[in-house]
């Protein structure tokens, strides 16, 4: 018997021990977000279409930047860590409008 993660995959170390790989959804479900109705980050993906780098896709720790089949970027602010990675790596002026959520909203860490 081997342990299996939510996505059915497993991580096998070189020594052989296996343990379940957690799905990204399970990972993000461990974090509390007090979502405000106003998005604190807005992505203008008409600008992203001209971007050849798109560093946000691999760098965002919450995996919030999803490339679409028509060359755009799908973004949702709700599970954002408010870390700043996306605007720091963004290559295109004006693509990301970044601010903090309203007071008391957004990510709330408890055992970090």
């Amino acid at each position: 018997m081997t342990a299996r993660g939510a996505q059915g995959n497993e991580v096998v170390g070189p020594l052989g021990p296996t343990y379940p790989a957690i799905s990204f959804e399970t990972r993000m479900d461990s974090v509390e977000f007090r979502v405000h109705e106003r998005p604190h980050i807005v992505v203008d993906d008409t600008i992203c279409r001209d971007c050849s780098v798109r560093g946000c896709i691999t760098a965002c720790p919450a995996n919030l930047f999803i490339p679409t089949s028509d060359g755009g970027i799908l973004f949702n602010y709700e599970q954002c860590f408010e870390c700043g990675t996306c605007y720091l790596v963004c290559n295109e002026e004006g693509a990301i409008s970044w601010s903090y959520p309203e007071g008391g909203h957004g990510v709330v860490f408890h055992s970090s």
């Binding site: 720790p61 700043g84 957004g106």
Partner: protein
């Protein structure tokens, strides 16, 4: 009609820098507002695990009797790692598990809330769930902040920006030069639940003693490092990753973290536990060379907002630098208010105070260290070279005779494509950087 509230000082951000600043101002009898955008202090904060509390001696006598500690660090390890090897330097002393202690692991929501409460006990006004949206500026001079509360302007003689690594206040005031992703890393961390006894067994510690491990060579093609440390009944494992390299594609943070957790030196320590919380935060990695101007007219910058994290490989510290700079900012603001001059000239004592303390002394002395740690040699060659040398030293090759340590070193240096003059030059550079 806009109603404004007037304080001697407004401190933005109730992390360790802001709490220490508010503490010192309130202790000196100043009216001070400590403004926090999260629902409680520390709710937006995460870190790589250890609070070095010595600087707290200046604020709270016998702080260790009340600080919310997870474990006192009595084992400190540095691990050099390749995909299948690990070489660990392991220092342990029970002395660090007794007063006056050295470092402790703590949950930031607990620690930051505790320190902010200390400022409140001195008389500071803590305003949580309040996001500062910008500076109030009159005649080129900072005179307060705007908040997202109704009628939420707060006027003050001095504003202290302790608003974290992204410090939009320091940027708005023009205190930062060009902001480059090259100077930043992102930290990602899993807090993994395990029974206390299991942690004690796996890490060979007892009671409230714990372990902090810093790792290099565990981030694949992305420059960075890793960490692993014990809380009371959780283990935290995380990575610090260069932003430009991460953005260049290839691996995502959680994939690199999964690989570290599967490493033979790490898997037995973390396996079987459930992820209790995942977290991420950006880190100002480049130290002294990325610091903004620390003083403006009516404005001081402290903690991560002033890039005061020390990422120097063997030393990875931030909370203590935040407390040290915040406390100095509070004292400098009080002195400026007393003299009636809160212009940049009147507040210049802040920088002087920092220069004569560990905050800027350490950063200036170690200004090359962050670059060395994130450089090719430390990232791509040192871990493999060190592990291969260790393997060649400890592996018994009978019936062949032992090759001798010098021959092993020369052979491995050559095998790793390095030349002796390069190694000598880089060793001298490292000695200078850390001297």
């Amino acid at each position: 009609m806009t109603e404004t509230t007037e304080f001697d000082a407004v401190v933005v951000g109730a992390g360790p820098a802001g709490a220490a600043a508010a503490f010192e101002l309130a202790r000196a009898g100043r009216s001070v507002a400590l403004v926090e955008r999260g629902p409680f202090p520390g709710s937006k904060n995460m870190y790589g695990g250890v609070v070095y509390g010595r600087i707290l001696d200046t604020l709270i006598p016998r702080w260790w009797e009340e600080m919310p500690v997870q474990r006192w660090v009595t084992r400190r390890q540095t691990m050099l790692m390749t995909g299948h090897q690990a070489l660990t330097i392991d220092y342990r002393t029970d002395t660090w598990g007794r007063p006056p202690y050295n470092g402790a692991t703590a949950y930031r929501p607990d620690f930051d809330s505790w320190l902010a409460d200390k400022a409140v006990q001195q008389g500071a006004t803590l305003l949580c769930s309040t996001t500062v949206t910008g500076l109030l500026v009159e005649g080129g001079r900072t005179v307060g902040v705007r908040t997202d509360r109704p009628d939420g302007d707060l006027r003050a003689g001095v504003v202290i920006a302790a608003d974290g690594v992204n410090s939009f206040l320091a940027k708005e005031a023009g205190l930062y030069g060009e902001v480059s992703a090259d100077n930043y890393t992102v930290g990602v961390k899993e807090t993994i639940a395990l029974p206390r006894e299991v942690i004690d067994e796996r890490f060979a510690v007892r009671g409230d003693h714990g372990v902090d491990i810093e790792i290099i060579g565990c981030t694949g093609e992305v420059p960075g490092g890793g960490f692993l440390y014990t809380n009371a009944d959780t283990v935290a494992v995380g990575l610090v990753l260069s932003l430009p390299a991460l953005a260049a594609g290839g691996s995502r943070p959680e994939e690199l973290l999964a690989a570290l957790k599967a490493h033979p030196a790490v898997a037995p320590l973390v396996e079987g536990g459930e992820v209790k919380e995942y977290s991420a935060h950006v880190i100002p990695e480049a130290g002294y060379d990325m610091m903004p101007e620390l003083v403006g007219d009516g404005l001081l910058v402290a903690g991560d907002a002033a890039a005061m994290c020390l990422a120097a490989g063997v030393w990875l510290e931030g909370v203590n630098f935040a407390i040290g700079s915040g406390a100095a900012a509070g004292r400098a603001a009080h002195a400026a208010l007393r003299s009636g001059d809160t212009t940049a000239a009147g507040l210049a004592g802040y920088r002087t105070r920092l220069e004569s303390s560990f905050v800027l002394a350490d950063h200036r002395k170690l200004r090359e260290a962050p670059h060395l740690v994130m450089g090719d040699l430390a990232q791509r060659q040192l871990p493999g070279l060190a592990c291969d040398v260790a393997e060649a030293v400890f592996q018994v090759t009978n019936p062949d005779p032992k090759p001798g340590l010098v021959r092993i070193a020369r052979k491995q240096i050559a095998r790793h494509g390095l030349k002796l003059p390069t190694v000598a030059r880089e060793t001298i550079r490292a000695l200078r950087a850390y001297g």
